[in-house]
Amino acid sequence: MNYEKEWDVIIVGAGPAGNMAAQEFAKRGMKALVIDRKQQIGPPKRCGEGLSIRWVKIGKLKPNPRWALQEITGATLVAPNGEKVYIDTGSTGQTGYIIERSQWEKMEAEKAIRSGAKYMLKALVTGLVMEGKAVKGVKVSREGKEEEYYAKLVVACDGVDSMVGRYAGLRTAMPLGECDSGYQYEMANVPIENPNYMELYFGTNVAPRGYVWVFPKGKDVANVGIGISGDSAETAKDCLDAWIEANHERFKDASITEINAGVIPVTKPVGEFVGDGIMLVGDAARMVNPIHGGGMGSALEAAQMAAEVGTAAIKKGDTSKKELMAYQKMWQEKRGGEFKKILHVRHFVEKLNDEQFNIVADLVKKGELKPEMLVDLGHGKGLAELIKALVKASPSITKFALSFLKG
């Protein structure tokens, strides 16, 4: 298939960030080309497929039964000692979906195409066309040939690898301790207590500095996955296999339909989201909720912002870093503060040992902590409340906990 050489904007990556960026640029009349190395939009997924209602609204998504598989109205948290805490999030309107991500991504790409965007698949971006420090296009390896395509602006939506940013000289390499290593099986014939509830399991024997999740995709299908610290000695696969083995009774009649793996940034975003002629969006800029590792929603929102600023810059004929900086400012103002607080919560939670986790579960059981507070933590709120309750119940925690109150 032949493609024109000159574009207003070239978007690298057709994931949640790239598809949304394509829609938003195309809707504003920009000539947009999306390039992905995959031969098919969607699979393989690297994802637990949880998407909260907040992002569904921000992304202006209309839940369609073809991808919005399972409505979620609560969560079951399981402490290291097996104690279960049920959180009804639906009563406060904090619902969500477990989605069929591959189907959703394809339908989002279809929307972008209807708005005028073009897609090029099985095409690897191997470098950038540069003029001094300014990005002027991309180098592509496709159909056995090396090609170049030119654009006023390149938007890197290339996910966790984030190589495109590095080709432009932006520092996107992640320190090991700031990412999680993830592994997952999609399984069928799994007994599920309540398909409306996500299940999260904690404990050093379960997942070092992370958690195991069971996200229902219907009555007996679920994503069973794990995220552990990127610098752990064990592999995520071995930890998940061990957990499934330890829960043999539950999984003995189940089997896998998919294997998924991936790395999740759980850190602050990269220092610079923009350069001359380039913007980074989504995982490429490390815009992931650092407590639970969800990144689809924030990728959608950031893509909207990038398209707003990017289109204005293209129209003005100035896609310099200075001009594009408005996007970074916009994101920092809207989401930066919240994500910083969430990271602070993460750093605290990471330090809790199994016994302290058990105490938290116990405090919720006894009604001394509200279960909704655990949901608030995911939004970077309620840490002081948690610390106060913990200090009361377990004075040994005092010193390090109080240091977090200041921070």
Binding site: S141, T172, C179
Partner: protein
């Protein structure tokens, strides 16, 4: 010795490229390529890999 990929077990998830400080790894969708000249043998890729598919053999 630079990092070596076991193509049998690699999931082609790209996770290792994200932590490689030397830009020595490139995921070409169905193959993960190590640029052995660039690899500084730091071991980051080995630690982060969810399935243990990439190893730096010291010595």
């Amino acid at each position: 010795m630079p990092a070596k990929v076991n193509e049998n077990t690699c999931m082609h998830c790209g996770g290792c490229t994200s932590v490689c400080p030397a830009q020595a790894l490139e995921l070409q969708e169905t193959v993960l390529v190590v640029d052995t000249d660039k690899c500084i043998e730091c071991g980051n890729c080995q630690k982060v890999c969810p399935v243990g598919a990439i190893k730096v053999v010291k010595g």
